[in-house]
């Protein structure tokens, strides 16, 4: 794998950029792997990358039923932050931010991680109490957080509607300066290229149709490209986790919901930070291309159709226009849906299952993108060592039987 550098850019410029090496190979499946990762999204590719890099396990395949970057990794609103409430979640997401901070160098791939700050607005006294509590909890956990009043929010984002006569007036916000955005496709491509460079096989158009077991031990996966033998299978197939669990006769506390997002036509730079509001339910940032990236909510009903219903978009845009009246005549370019795994406590499930050699990483709900590197890092550890890392020990599926849930509905910022 040739490294990207100023010299390689110059060298390839001499041949009109027509001779760049493919970022990853497209090999034929081998008959056997040490580990098979089901799902070639960001989390799955990050898992494969860290399996190879941190644990020296390179005989790994990542199976993707579609194409790399075509699922939820390419459908989210690219926001990264770690200002969660409870210790377990904060430490997990904070690990992820720390990996984000060095990711472009580590992968030798520009993931365009931009720490432009994330504002979580409060519109009621109770919102502000919750925000103050969360900021304090973050700071006790060593995570940066600031509490802003309405004037400070206005000073930071001059185009925001700060009228006290608004239906939901802005009373203040939390600010995490180390939060921001990253280029989502680049994250998938960078991890794919990094994993491939370590010898991982990335198999696209390879759908898993069955999980073969011998007693309580996994022995392989049936795929659309034939049977693949392996004794360790890591499933990271957000949206379709329940479908894969059913192949192994497991039940999950997960329901799949459509989540929608949309982008506007490109406009001049006008919004330099991420603004989220759980109360009026909208979140927005401006991409480097200039388009406004807007996130809506999930549809209440379950669905796998990768599209949602119109009233959900209408509500999100009503909230955005209320917050930013200046955007009322901006036209929307594209709108799409992805399918998210929603867990009852708005926290993921990462860990072992009752079946030996079968590991699940799912339930990230509406906010999995921010966790991509950290999720892969802990899941790789879990698979390699056959036990969870201390960062994801609390996120086992057992919590739904012991009752030790990690309720992050508040910090999830948008209602799950």
């Amino acid at each position: 794998m040739s490294r990207y550098s100023l010299a390689s850019l110059f060298r390839n410029g001499l041949s009109y950029h027509e001779n760049w090496q493919a970022a990853w190979r497209s090999p034929e499946p081998r008959t056997e792997y040490d580990v098979v990762i089901v799902g070639g999204g960001g989390h799955g590719l990050a898992t494969a990358y860290y399996l190879a890099k941190e644990h020296g396990i390179t005989n790994v395949a990542v199976l993707e039923k579609g194409w790399i970057g075509g699922g939820n990794t390419g459908r989210n609103t690219t926001i990264v932050r770690s200002n969660y409430l409870w210790d377990e979640a904060t430490h997990l997401y904070e690990k992820s931010i720390q990996l984000w901070e060095g990711l472009a160098q580590d992968l030798n791939y520009n993931v365009m991680f931009s720490q432009r700050g994330v504002l979580n607005l409060g519109h009621t006294l109770q919102d502000m109490r919750d925000i103050a509590r969360r900021v304090n909890a973050n700071r006790l956990n060593g995570v940066d957080g600031e509490l802003l009043d309405a004037a400070q929010v206005k000073a930071m984002v001059p185009i925001i509607n700060d009228s006290p006569r608004a239906r939901y007036p802005i009373l203040g916000a939390s600010l995490q300066r180390r939060g921001g955005t990253a280029r989502h496709d680049a994250v998938a491509w960078g991890f794919a290229r990094g994993a491939d460079a370590h010898g991982v096989d990335i198999l696209q158009n390879c759908e898993v149709t069955g999980i073969r077991r011998d007693g309580a031990q996994v022995v392989g996966v049936e795929t659309s490209r034939g049977f693949i033998r392996t004794r360790k299978v890591g499933v990271v197939a957000a949206g379709n986790s329940s479908v894969l669990a059913a192949m192994a006769d497991l039940r999950l506390p997960i329901e799949s919901h459509p989540l929608q997002a949309l982008v506007s036509e490109p406009i001049k730079p006008v919004l330099h930070t991420v603004v989220m509001s759980g109360a009026v339910h909208g979140y927005i940032s401006q991409s480097d291309k200039g388009d406004l990236v807007i996130g809506a909510g999930i549809d209440a009903y379950t669905g796998y159709g990768q599209r949602g219903s119109f009233p959900v978009i209408e509500n999100a845009l009503a909230a955005i226009v209320e917050l930013f009246p200046v955007f009322s005549r901006v036209r929307m370019n594209r709108q799409w849906g992805g399918i998210v795994d929603v867990c009852p406590d708005a926290c993921p499930i990462i860990g072992l299952t009752p079946i030996r050699g079968l590991y699940f990483n799912c339930g990230w709900g509406t906010g999995g993108f921010k966790a991509t590197p950290g999720s892969g890092w802990v899941f790789a550890h879990t698979i390699a060592r056959d036990r969870p890392h201390e960062l994801n020990a609390a996120f086992s599926i057992d919590r739904f039987f012991t009752g030790r849930l990690i309720d992050e509905h508040g910090a999830a910022a948008v209602a799950h």
């Binding site: 059913a246 039940r251 999950l252 329901e255 799949s256 379950t302 796998y304 219903s309 009233p311 009852p344």
Partner: protein, 89 residues
Amino acid sequence: MLLIECPWCGPREQSEFSYGGEAHIARPVDTDALTDAQWGDYLFMRKNPRGAHVEQWLHAFGCRRWFNVCRDTVTYRISAVYKPGESPP
């Protein structure tokens, strides 16, 4: 936007309804004898199928009555609606 046929009011648009999740989950009878695993299964575990799904809806901005809907979770097409207490067609 789904067009949902309330068994009492007829076809109305989706925004009049609220969703109530998987149907026919009966609360266990002998609750004192349940294990943690059985409680966890009843409270949290869901079928979440890709395809045919039987679910509950409430006509929240209408007659305010619950009913059941058979809906495909990929095409979102509704194949049947029926009242509580009736069996799925």
